[in-house]
């Protein structure tokens, strides 16, 4: 009898090994069809008309001229907005669908919308602009602790709004056929995508909406729901009676399809001479557009500082709306906290590693962080390279080290999976899940193949359709725990059903059997065996299908999955104090994530996070003109991502020892992207001798900080 319990480390044939991405070849060959690539017969292209005002009353929308253009087949306008306010530049007011993309673009320009401009507010840097009652938190006696502290260190820090900048923009192809709505969206939540918004827009009940997303080009937290683009393309498809493709153009993608909230803070830290942290007081503010909140997990990780006071103020701005961005609120809280802590170490003239080793004792995972800090220090050559704040060597290029620690939950989500074993020996697993590029297909294939004792190629993984068993959206590092567990349960049950058929032929009880190396064999007499193919042939004409269900609370109790990880990152940077240019020499990430299914794609998640982190530490910022409320860099030339030359040398160390493995599976997508901003900013401060308070650490900001600090 096969049991679902994860196999012991020494018994695993696939789990935890370095396995190539299952869909690597189709992606590398360019034949993987992303939602953006879906071309349907008779398909129209749609383009959007958006508000050019940061705030205005929408007086009228006239689509008649656009509608009369040759080639235009359908128009849509948002009458519900008439007489109401548009609240940011890029807010959608109308759309057109036409025979070609070019005609649609031209027609969109002929839609006449009239506005009565109103005063807007796009500034997120001034806390006095907050109109809400501040959120507050108070632990211990902060004033008394500051009075007793040996040092009080005050600083002001900031991390701006950045965008998701998914390479595949948001949108979908919509088609009404046989009373069904077929949609091909770029989404990270296949099973829950068919919601009331596209049902209302198309007039098709939710249970007749067919969602299909085989490949999607990045989401990072911003692609759970259909969005207005999903609604509009559904409505246009209904009106035109033809399929419609609506994918956002790059400028709109950057303005309206995903923003990470900003966070600025004044932080005061109280500490004793030996580095003991006694108090922290924070005033934090920032914007998430008109809605949302402000990150408030400060102090971050080092959250057992006995005396803490926090005031958090949301600033509403007439900017594009915020969306969950990989590890929501953590990168901001981490950057603010770790910057203030590194400044405290500098004020104490204390070695930063020694200081952080002490600080992490005030966290929930003191042992994990201590071990990871030592490993990271070894990997980056800390002992050889470290110096107190300010590179003492001469010359204009200063070198420094910085570090940061982070945490995340990552418990697997609810997931259902059907595994089918067919009489011809073929195996398939079906889940309404999705692969954002994390390696989800690969992970499911590994678990099913391992469970059935088969090679990876023997199992077919079907995901990306809401017709398959319901599986959670891919957010919050919940997918790997969810799908691994449901597919393990399904495969185990299916295997046991096969054992029940095979056992009598082998003259044994089903519980005497195991699947191994393409055979079903007797556990204590391995020579008594039957090949997988022959075993399955005994099924006659009936396939076996079993459903596995992951109920997170239950499987957590049983040790299949867990939550709560710690990670440490260190950065080695050089800063030219004549030009202000900061460059990455090396970054090290040490990360635990429980039991690992595919070491190769797991490491890729961490490498990717470091690279994404370099981008938001050094380059990324949605720059807004306060006068017009317009995003000035809504393109990929001036909204800069990191390139190949920018990322330096990268080292990733996964914590894979038995103690970590025994915890079960924990998600990995979020945690490693949290620390890079803080680690890099601390390294720059360590190099040049002063804090550069705001990300991204652009040359102008570095020079300004050097001037203010009297370094140049």
């Amino acid at each position: 009898m096969a049991t679902a319990k994860w196999p012991a480390i020494d018994k695993r044939t696939l789990i935890g090994k370095r396995i190539d991405r299952a869909d690597g070849p189709v992606k590398a060959a360019g034949v993987a069809r992303y939602s953006f690539d879906i071309n349907r017969p008779g398909m129209l292209w749609a383009k959007l008309v958006v508000s050019p005002h940061a705030r205005a009353e929408l007086v009228s929308i006239d689509v008649s001229e656009a509608a009369s253009m040759p080639g235009v087949k359908a128009t849509w306008k948002d009458d519900s907005l008439l007489g109401k306010e548009v609240q940011y530049i890029g807010q959608i007011v109308a759309a057109v669908a036409a025979e070609t993309e070019e005609i649609a673009q031209e027609a969109a320009g002929k839609v006449k919308a009239q506005y009565k401009p109103l005063a807007h507010q796009a500034n997120d840097r001034d806390p006095t602009l907050s109109k809400d009652k501040p959120a507050t938190r108070n632990t211990g006696n902060v004033d008394e602790a500051f009075a007793k502290a040996d040092v009080k260190v005050e600083g002001e820090y900031g991390i701006p709004v950045i965008t998701h900048c998914c390479l595949e923009s948001h949108g979908q192809v919509a088609e009404l056929r046989n009373d069904e709505l077929h949609v091909w969206p770029s989404t990270q939540a296949v099973s829950s995508y068919a919601d009331v918004s596209i049902s209302d827009a198309s007039g098709v009940p939710r249970n007749k909406i067919r969602v299909d997303c085989q490949y999607m080009g990045g989401g990072f937290g911003s692609k759970f729901n259909p969005g207005k683009w999903g609604v509009i393309s559904s409505a246009l498809a209904k009106q035109a009676g033809r399929p419609v493709k609506l994918m956002l153009d790059r400028d709109l993608e950057l303005m309206i399809a995903g923003n990470r909230p900003s966070a600025f803070a004044k932080i005061k830290v109280g500490a004793m001479k030996d580095g003991t942290l006694t108090a922290m007081e924070t005033e934090v503010w920032g914007t998430a557009g008109m809605g949302g909140g402000v990150p408030q997990q400060i102090p971050y990780v080092i959250d057992r500082i006995p005396n803490v006071r926090l005031t958090a103020k949301r600033i509403q701005t007439n900017r594009g709306p915020a969306a969950a961005w990989r590890a929501p609120n953590h990168p901001q809280s981490c950057f603010l906290t770790m910057s203030a802590l590194a400044d405290t170490a500098a004020a104490l003239k204390m070695d930063e590693l020694e200081f952080f080793l002490k600080a992490v004792q005030l966290s929930a995972r003191a042992e994990v962080y201590s071990e990871e800090l030592r490993i990271a220090a070894d990997l980056i050559g800390y002992k050889q390279k470290a110096h107190l704040r300010g590179d003492p060597s001469g010359g204009s290029v200063k070198r420094g080290l910085g570090m940061s620690v982070h945490t995340w939950g990552g418990r697997g989500h609810p997931s259902e999976c059907d595994v089918t074993i067919n009489p011809d020996g073929s195996v398939e697993a079906k889940l309404g899940s999705q692969d954002l590029g994390t390696g989800n297909r690969t992970v499911i294939a590994i678990v099913v193949a391992e469970t059935l004792g088969l090679p990876l190629e023997a199992v077919r993984i079907e995901i990306g359709r809401n017709a398959y068993p319901t599986s959670g959206g891919s957010g919050g590092s919940t997918t790997v725990g969810g799908v691994s567990t449901s597919s393990r349960f399904a495969a185990t049950d299916a295997l046991n059903a096969l054992f029940a058929v095979v056992a009598p032929k082998m003259g044994v009880q089903p519980d005497a059997l195991e699947a191994n190396g393409g055979y079903i064999r007797q556990i204590d007499k391995p020579d008594n065996r039957i090949s997988w193919r022959n075993a399955c042939a005994l099924l006659g004409v009936n396939s076996i299908t079993k459903r596995g269900v992951n109920v997170p609370g239950e499987s957590e109790k049983q040790g299949f999955i867990s939550q709560g990880v710690g990670g440490v990152q260190m950065a080695d940077v050089s800063v030219d104090i004549e030009t202000g240019v900061a460059t990455i020499n090396e970054m090290v990430a040490v990360q635990d994530c429980g039991m690992i299914i595919d070491l190769k794609t797991a490491e890729s998640q961490v490498y990717g996070s470091l690279i994404m982190g370099v981008a938001y530490a050094l380059y990324e910022e949605a720059i807004y003109d306060l006068k017009t409320g317009r995003m000035l860099n809504a393109d990929m030339e001036f909204y800069r991502l990191s390139g190949l030359k920018d990322v330096g040398k990268l080292k990733v160390h996964m914590m894979t020892s038995k103690a970590y493995d025994d915890r079960g599976i924990i998600g990995l997508g979020e945690p490693p992207v949290i620390s890079p901003g803080a680690a890099i900013a601390n390294a720059v401060a360590n190099a040049v001798g002063v804090r550069v308070p705001h990300l991204p650490l652009t040359p102008d900001r570095v020079i300004a900080a050097l001037q203010k600090g009297g370094i140049i």
Binding site: A28, G30, Y34, P52, I89, R250, G439, E603, G608
Partner: protein, 209 residues
């Protein structure tokens, strides 16, 4: 704010609208200076094509394709929207990210920044012409081996750029590769794998794989 911006979509000037109906040989001049109109181009004796659809023939991956496009249609949109060759991706749509890279007469080119009419008579190689999932070229093999992809949306552009790069730089150093492929961007952060893949593909290519 200008009248144009008040009544049209963001951002202000539409490149496609601007290009609509330009003389073919006037395109480069028009783009650079913004001064030559179709009328002026005609007066100069430059052939005028458009503004309506015109028939063209494109030679892609060794095959001739006849299609009908307006002169303002980019090579990228012609590939994706007219010929259903969707391996080349539309991302920045203005010559920054490299996701649309194709090879034209041996040179890597951003297909979002070349008009389809300009590509007539040239040898175009797209990702679809480099190898299949079952029979990958050395660069594709190396991308899979080194996991140089996550979401994969930038991958075809990288594979094409990398293939063209290795043709002219068969023995690249790490720094050569970082520079040579600097015209392509990835969001998921696959550069670590890409660097390993480029160097490995160079070896495989020499080994005749």
């Amino acid at each position: 704010m200008s009248e144009k911006l008040k009544s049209s979509q963001v951002p202000g000037v539409s490149r496609r609208g601007f290009l609509k109906g330009l003389g073919v040989s006037g395109v480069a001049t028009g783009l650079l200076t913004g001064t030559e109109t179709p009328t002026e181009a005609a007066e100069r004796g430059s052939p005028i094509k458009g503004p309506g659809e015109i028939p063209i023939t494109l030679q892609i991956n060794g095959k001739k394709h006849q299609l009908s496009v307006e002169p303002r249609v980019t090579l990228l949109d012609a590939l994706r929207n007219r010929l259903d060759l969707t391996g080349s991706k539309k991302v920045c749509d203005r010559g920054t990210c490299g996701a649309c890279t194709v090879i034209v007469d041996g040179q890597p080119v951003y297909s979002c920044s070349m008009l389809a009419v300009e590509a007539e008579g040239r040898a175009i190689t797209t990702i679809e012409g480099l190898g299949t999932a079952e029979n990958m070229n050395p660069v594709q093999k190396a991308f899979v081996k080194h996991d140089a992809q996550q979401c994969g949306f930038c991958t075809p552009g990288f594979v094409v750029a990398c293939t063209a790069f290795l043709k002219t730089n068969p023995n690249p150093t790490l720094e050569d590769a970082r520079t040579g492929l600097g015209g392509n961007l990835c969001r998921c952060g696959t550069y670590a794998g890409i660097m390993d893949a480029v160097l490995d593909a160079a070896k495989m290519t020499k080994g005749g794989a």
